[in-house]
Symmetry: C2
Subunit: 382 residues, 2 copies
């Protein structure tokens, strides 16, 4: 561990560990199926106060996990995915709030998912895992919150698919949510989102090593998952950010190689993203989680976006990012407008950024005071 | 043949046939390699006038071919790819102009490409085909134009990669080009274009049936090519056009199936695009042509866009489309600005359209008078 790392570890939440909650009472799913037992992997940072009024649930995006902040070991090269925002003195202030983050149902970082053992067969579920929805993910989270002794969350917060879950919390369990922080998200998956997800699934499912999902114990479908991840990555960035980062620079060469192999820096970057994703993600989880995203359609469930937003009882903070073309500003604005029409307190800030959809994780500086103030107001009222 | 088809066939250029030009003099390539013999498949519509001053060369995009207009057989369900614009009384008026269109070098619709027989081995080139550039494609076209007895083209015209070729003509052979019509195109491939093309190539090359390119006589890599084409298709459309066309409609169902299989209409559409592309396109050609696109960088070749545009001798018409995010309006505007700074006659029209990049082939009505007038002015001056 370098001195820099030591300092950083001691500044943030420090060393943390993953915890697990397992229950055997069946979890009913939107499809009509049920799962039992169910395990959720989770982490917590900070302490629950005596009034049990300071709990905040963080909700991760497609490729995230329960490890939102801190380090699992001093040797870790990177902290949790939202570490810049979680810790003493940070917006999700662990000296003030009790922060919870769990890996989604269907995930592959400790929660029950397609790689889990099917109790009926004794083998991994694989493609026999039931198709799940955002509603199912959140229903599982309510059990975790119950088990942690939290009746009402001060706030729920998440970006992208994490925002889907936050919206699900705010509309399905409105009495349990003080406020919702929604970043770079939408009330429904667009046809374009479905299209990208579907192409990623096609790439995975047509990789012969996918074997109909039964690749556990064999070589996994790394080519298919890499292609799916590479597609995702381009949609998370903006054209200007790709130009600024890579332009037409060749990787380790001055002149074109006149070869079919990759040679531009942007190609090496995408290739690296594909490889490193394979090292940490299960292809079947990618199928199930993207399918859950595709089903996400809050207006359809309640008849209209206004009818859905009428269910919200707490305050809402929406952050969108000007160069995000996957979940454009207009989709946050539509949610803000519907909440306003329903007389619900809402604040929407569109942050100027060239970083595309990824801005919600990258351009944290302008978000800090906005999120801090929003939470502070919630806490004062609580 | 239905009455409608009969009427349509008789209204347009009617029945046409593909022709071939083969030469044995080696074609030098930008990579330093050379090809011999070379064949270009081409079609012509209309008649070359006595002054040989009315020839227009149409240049096709990534997935196009020499069949720009008319029908190869009365049983054909669809005419050529730019039939709406080519024919008697249409902007590329075959009663007035002599229209030429050839399949690009590296293509798979009759021109020399990776599926062609390598004279050294007697087997298909496959991945031993030399990597080619837009400059190589156009150098091959000069031989065709020579053979057809045309010294100077009244105009060159193309969209997307067809626009790359038109720009190559206007800058590499300026004395042979009266005017250039550039639709939905750019003077260089952006990092994002390279990214999408690279992911498509990765999908093809990781399909085990690709076999390092040696799949001729075997099952071709249809899964990889389908994924590449599906990615392309989403980039050719806009988010609003996908919403309008498909939205979140399910294909042949009212309720979600809770299955990993495709079920949204947009998924069926993309799947169909992938399948039908496999029926007409060679995966190796996809690799070579997208690589040629990735190398496209006119400013780099001449030091700046202005220096490149200073080479242009004829007039230029640029059409861009407001919802095209693959080759956005700004890229056409940059070309127009550079031409203006160099004192070259240029007209740039940004057409309002929700059809995305595909607008250049779909939203033809607003283009008709603009292209007709531009050609008319060129012809009067010729």
């Amino acid at each position: 561990m370098t001195a820099l790392q030591t300092a950083y570890v001691s500044e943030g939440v420090g060393l943390v560990h993953r915890q697990y909650l397992t229950w055997t009472e069946p979890l009913p799913l939107e499809s009509g199926a049920a799962l039992s037992p169910v395990t959720l992997a989770f982490e917590t940072y900070g302490e629950l106060n005596q009034e049990r009024s300071n709990a905040i649930l963080l909700l991760h995006a497609l490729s995230g996990d329960a490890h939102a902040a801190g380090f699992h070991s001093p040797a870790d090269r990177k902290p949790g995915w939202w570490d810049t925002m979680v810790g003493p003195g940070r917006p999700f202030d662990t000296e003030r709030y009790y922060i919870i983050c769990s890996n989604v149902l269907g995930g592959c970082q400790g929660s029950t998912g397609p790689a889990s053992r099917d109790p009926h067969s004794g083998r991994p579920f694989a493609a026999r895992f039931p198709v799940i929805t955002i509603g199912d993910m959140v229903r599982a989270q309510t059990r975790l919150i119950d088990a942690l002794g939290v009746e009402r969350l001060l706030a729920v917060a998440g970006g992208s698919m994490g925002g889907f879950q936050a919206l699900e919390w705010a509309t399905s369990y409105p009495a349990r949510v003080g406020g919702a922080i929604l970043l770079a998200t939408s009330a429904r998956s667009s046809a374009q989102t479905v299209a990208w997800n579907s192409i990623g699934r096609r790439a995975i499912m047509s990789d012969p090593r996918w074997r109909g999902g039964n690749y556990y114990g064999h070589e996994p479908p790394t080519d298919g998952l890499a292609v799916a991840r590479m597609i995702g990555h381009v949609t998370y960035l903006s054209e200007p950010s790709l130009e600024a980062k890579f332009g037409r620079r060749l990787q380790g060469a001055q002149e074109p190689a006149f070869s079919l192999e990759r040679e531009f820096a942007v190609e090496s970057y995408l290739d690296y993203q594909g490889e490193s994703f394979n090292a940490r993600f299960d292809a079947n989880s990618y199928l199930y989680i993207t399918k859950a995203m595709d089903y996400w359609d809050l207006p359809a469930r309640y008849g209209s976006l206004d009818a859905a937003m009428a269910r919200v009882q707490g305050s809402t903070l929406l952050l969108s990012f000007s160069s995000d073309w996957l979940y454009p500003t207009a989709e946050s604005q539509a949610i803000a407008d519907a909440l306003t029409r329903q007389g619900r307190p809402v604040e929407h800030v569109d942050i100027q950024s060239s970083a595309g959809h990824d801005a919600f994780l990258i351009d944290v500086e302008p978000q800090r005071p906005i999120i801090s103030d929003f939470l502070d107001q919630l806490a004062r009222r609580a």
